[in-house]
C-alpha cells in the first residue's frame, strides 16, 4: 500500500475513536435538552444567528480574545497553541494535497514529511515548508509558556492554577509531547532527505547520519502514539472543551440558556470548561479565606464526572454567589446557574406553598410607583425612610408594598435550590403586583432587583433605587445640593456584576459630592461577606471577608462609605469607625428644599 507505514496506525485509531466518542456524546446531550431548549433550536437552527456564532467561535476558540483582554500572556499562550495548531492542520492539508504523489490518505497530511522526501524545489513548496516551520515554532512557544506556567504560574500572572486529576495531567503531558516530537521527527527526516525548513533543517543538521537513520522511525512512532493518547483521552478530560465550546457558543447564540435542572445544555457547559483556573484567583473564598476546593472549576469537574457526590454537595454549598467567577470565566459559562443546579433540592414539596399569602390583597395603586424595600430593608429602616423622603421631594406618588409586612422575593429559596417553592412565591407576588396597577416597581435591595429583573415576567418597569434616583435627578424632578463630602462606592454583587449597574450610582454620588477611586471597583468589587448565597461560612470567616473589603473601601479615607444594598450596609456598619450609608440616605440628606 502506497503512502502507508504501520506507525500511523495508533494515530488513525485515535482519530476514529475521537470522532466516534465525541459524536456519540454530543448527540446524547442534544437529546437531553429540555422542551424549551429543543423548541429554540428548531426555531433558530438555520437562522442568520449562525453568522455571529461562527465569528465568536473564530474569536474565542481560536484567537482567545476574551482571555487576552484579561491577561495578554495567558491569551498568547492559548492562542499560540489553539490557533497555531489549527493553522498547522489547515496549511498542512493544503501542502500535502499539492505535494503528495500517489493515493492520498488523511494521515499523509499529518506525517507529510515522512511520506514526501523530495526537497522543496519550486516557490510554493519552499513557501509552505518555511511556513510550516514558522507555525510549529509558534505552537512550541505556547507549549513553552504552558511549561513555565506549570513551574511558576506568577510569571504568567496567575496566583494559583488548578489542581488537576491524574487523567488531566496525563493528557496534558501527551499534548506537550506532541509538538516537540513532531519537531524532532521532522528534523531527523530533514537530516536524511534535506526536505526541512529553517527550523527543522537547522536542528536536523546537528544529528549525525547514522543517528538520524536509527532515530527516524522511533520518533515518528512516538509522535503518532502521543497523538493517539491525546485523542483517546480527550473526550474524557478537560480537553473536551476544544469541541464542546464550539457547540456551546452556537447554542448560546441560538438563545439557549440554563434551566433550573441539569439538561443537555448544562452538559455542554460542563465540558466546555477548560479548567484554566481563572475563576480561582479572584474568588473571595480563596484569596481571603484560603478555601481552595470549592471554586467553579472544581464544582464543574465534579458535576461532570459525578463521582464524588459529597464533594459536589460541599463545593456547591460553599459559595458566596457573588458572580466574580462568572465575570472572569473566559468561556463565559453561566456559572451562577450551574451552582444553583448543583444545589437543586428536587421537587419534594409538590403542593401549593405559601397559601397564607392568598389573604394579602393588593392596594389599588393606579398611577403610583410601587416601592418594594425587601426583607433586609426592614432591618435597616433608614433606607426606606430616606426613599420616602426622596419620593416626596420629587413629587412621586408611591405605595410602600412591603411596609407593614415583608414578603420575600424568592431569591434566597432559589439560591438554595428550592425551585418549586420559589416559583410558588414568585407567582403569588406577581399576582399581587399586577393586581395593584402600579406604574413601576422600585426596590431598595439589589437581591430583589436582580430577581424581579431576571426571574419575574412583570409588565411594569423595574428599577433599583440608584437607577430611580438617577432618573429623578436627570429629569430635574429631584434637586440635590452639591457638597464637599467625599465618598467611596461599594458595588453590591447583585447590582454590579449581577445586573450591570455601575454608571447610575456614580453619577448620583457625583451630583452630591466627590467620588474617590478605590482599588477594587465595578467588575472587581469585593464581597461584604454577609451573603445570602452561602450558608456554611462561620461568623469569623464572614468577618474576615468584611474586614478585607472594608480595608479597600476606607483606604482613600472618605467621609462616607456608600453602598446600595441593605445587606452590605448592615455588614459594613459594624466593622468600621467610618460612616457607612446607603446611597438613598446620602441623597436624602442633601436635598434642596
Amino acid at each position: 500500500m502506497a503512502n502507508f507505514h504501520p506507525f500511523v496506525v495508533p494515530f488513525v485509531m485515535g482519530t476514529i475513536a475521537l470522532f466516534a466518542i465525541c459524536g456519540y456524546k454530543f448527540v446524547r446531550w442534544i437529546k437531553q435538552f429540555d422542551r424549551k431548549q429543543q423548541a429554540l433550536i428548531k426555531k433558530n437552527m438555520f437562522s442568520t444567528r449562525i453568522v455571529p456564532a461562527l465569528w465568536e467561535v473564530f474569536c474565542e476558540c481560536l484567537l482567545h480574545l476574551r482571555i487576552t483582554k484579561k491577561n495578554w500572556r495567558l491569551g498568547y499562550m492559548h492562542r499560540s497553541i489553539a490557533f497555531g495548531w489549527f493553522l498547522l492542520i489547515l496549511f498542512g492539508a493544503i501542502e500535502s494535497r499539492i505535494g503528495i504523489k500517489g493515493p492520498f490518505h488523511f494521515w499523509c497530511a499529518i506525517f507529510y514529511r515522512f511520506f514526501h522526501h523530495n526537497p522543496p524545489v519550486n516557490g510554493t513548496e519552499v513557501f509552505f515548508t518555511q511556513l510550516m516551520d514558522l507555525l510549529l515554532l509558534y505552537v512550541l512557544s505556547g507549549i513553552f509558556l504552558a511549561f513555565v506556567k506549570k513551574i511558576h504560574s506568577r510569571i504568567l500572572g496567575m496566583k494559583r492554577t488548578t489542581q488537576h486529576t491524574v487523567m488531566d495531567t496525563t493528557v496534558k503531558i501527551a499534548l506537550w509531547c506532541i509538538f516537540p516530537l513532531r519537531l524532532l521527527s521532522e528534523s531527523v527526516t530533514a537530516r536524511l532527505y534535506a526536505n526541512g525548513g529553517f527550523l527543522t533543517q537547522t536542528l536536523g543538521d546537528l544529528f549525525s547520519r547514522p543517528a538520524a537513520e536509527f532515530l527516524e522511525l522511533p520518533l515518528w512512532s512516538l509522535y503518532s502514539l502521543a497523538l493517539c493518547i491525546f485523542f483517546l483521552m480527550l473526550p474524557f478530560t478537560r480537553y473536551m472543551h476544544i469541541f464542546a465550546e464550539v457547540f456551546l457558543i452556537y447554542f448560546r447564540k441560538l438563545g439557549l440558556r440554563d434551566s433550573v435542572k441539569m439538561t443537555g445544555y448544562t452538559k455542554y457547559e460542563l465540558s466546555a470548561c477548560s479548567r484554566c483556573g481563572m475563576c480561582i484567583d479572584r474568588c473571595p473564598l480563596y484569596n481571603t479565606l484560603d478555601i481552595n476546593d470549592v471554586q467553579s472549576v472544581y464544582l464543574l469537574r465534579n458535576l461532570r464526572n459525578l463521582e464524588h457526590h459529597q464533594d459536589i454537595l460541599a463545593a456547591g454549598k460553599n459559595c458566596l454567589m457573588c458572580h466574580q467567577c462568572a465575570e472572569d470565566c473566559p468561556v463565559d459559562i453561566d456559572l451562577m446557574s450551574i451552582r444553583r443546579i448543583s444545589r437543586d433540592k428536587g421537587d419534594t414539596d409538590m403542593s401549593d406553598n405559601y397559601r397564607y399569602l392568598d389573604n394579602v390583597k393588593g392596594f389599588n395603586a393606579i398611577g403610583r410607583v410601587a416601592y418594594f424595600g425587601g426583607c433586609m430593608t426592614q432591618l435597616t429602616p433608614t433606607i426606606s425612610q430616606s426613599m420616602k423622603t426622596i419620593f416626596d421631594a420629587a413629587g412621586v406618588k408611591y405605595w410602600h408594598l412591603d411596609g407593614e409586612r415583608a414578603i420575600c422575593c424568592g431569591r434566597p429559596l432559589m439560591q438554595q435550590g428550592f425551585n418549586k417553592q420559589a416559583a410558588d412565591l414568585r407567582r403569588k407576588i406577581t399576582e399581587l403586583i399586577s393586581s395593584c396597577n402600579a406604574t413601576a416597581l422600585v426596590t431598595s435591595c439589589p437581591i430583589c432587583y436582580h430577581t424581579f429583573k431576571h426571574e419575574y415576567k412583570l409588565t411594569i418597569p423595574v428599577y433599583h433605587h440608584t437607577e430611580f434616583i438617577d432618573k429623578l435627578i436627570k429629569s430635574g424632578k429631584l434637586s440635590v445640593k452639591q457638597s464637599d463630602s467625599t465618598f467611596t462606592f461599594h458595588d453590591p454583587c447583585d447590582l454590579g456584576r449581577g445586573s450591570g449597574i455601575y454608571k447610575q450610582p456614580r453619577e448620583v454620588l457625583k451630583a452630591v459630592g466627590q467620588l474617590k477611586k478605590i482599588s477594587a471597583e465595578k467588575e472587581n468589587s469585593v464581597c461584604c461577606g454577609m451573603n445570602l448565597g452561602n450558608t456554611v461560612l462561620s461568623i469569623e470567616q464572614q468577618t474576615k471577608l468584611r474586614d478585607k473589603s472594608l480595608a479597600v473601601l476606607t483606604e482613600p479615607n472618605p467621609d462616607v462609605v456608600v453602598t446600595a444594598c441593605p445587606m452590605c450596609k448592615k455588614a459594613f456598619r459594624h466593622g468600621t469607625e467610618a460612616n457607612v450609608k446607603d446611597i438613598a440616605e446620602v441623597v436624602a440628606e442633601r436635598l434642596n428644599n
Binding site: 441539569m262 459525578l306 457526590h309 459536589i312 454537595l313 437543586d344 433540592k345 428536587g346 419534594t348 414539596d349 406553598n353 405559601y354 397564607y356 399569602l357 389573604n359 394579602v360 426583607c375 433586609m376 426592614q378 432591618l379 407593614e404 409586612r405 415583608a406 414578603i407 420575600c408 424568592g410 434566597p412 429559596l413 438554595q416 428550592f418 417553592q421 412565591l425 454577609m530 445570602l532 450558608t535 456554611v536 462561620s538 461568623i539 448592615k570
Partner: protein, 113 residues
C-alpha cells in the same frame, strides 16, 4: 366565666430519654452554631412569614431539638428563607442553614442527583 382572652396552657410532658434524637444530633453536627442558641426568640420576632401566619421558628427548632418531628415538615414550608432571623440572632446562630438542614433531615430519602 368571663373570657379575658387568655387561658392556661395544658401541661405538656414527655420523656426525653425515650425520644429519638438522631436527627437532632445530626442537626447539631451540621450546624454547630446552633449550640449557642439561648432561645431568646429574636428569630421569631423578626420573622417575615410570621407577619402573615402563625409560624414560630423558635418553637420549630426547639421542638426539633427535643426529637418531636411530627408536623414540623409542613410547618417549615411556611418559611421563605429570607434570612432576617440569621441577621438578628444575638448569638450568631446560622438559622438559614439550620432551617435548610431541618428541611433536608425531614425529607424522606432525599437525593439530589
Amino acid at each position: 366565666m368571663a373570657n379575658f382572652g387568655f387561658s392556661i396552657k395544658k401541661t405538656r410532658s414527655f420523656n426525653l430519654s425515650q425520644a429519638d434524637l438522631r436527627k437532632a444530633d445530626r442537626l447539631l453536627e451540621e450546624v454547630p452554631s446552633y449550640r449557642l442558641c439561648i432561645g431568646c426568640g429574636g428569630c421569631t420576632a423578626t420573622c417575615s412569614a410570621r407577619q402573615f401566619t402563625d409560624f414560630d421558628i423558635r418553637k420549630v427548632h426547639n421542638t426539633f431539638r427535643r426529637g418531636q418531628y411530627d408536623k414540623l415538615a409542613d410547618e417549615l414550608r411556611k418559611c421563605m428563607l429570607c434570612g432576617k432571623c440569621t441577621l438578628v440572632c444575638p448569638r450568631g446562630v446560622n438559622l438559614r442553614s439550620l432551617i435548610i438542614n431541618m428541611r433536608q433531615l425531614l425529607t424522606p430519602s432525599h437525593e439530589t442527583f
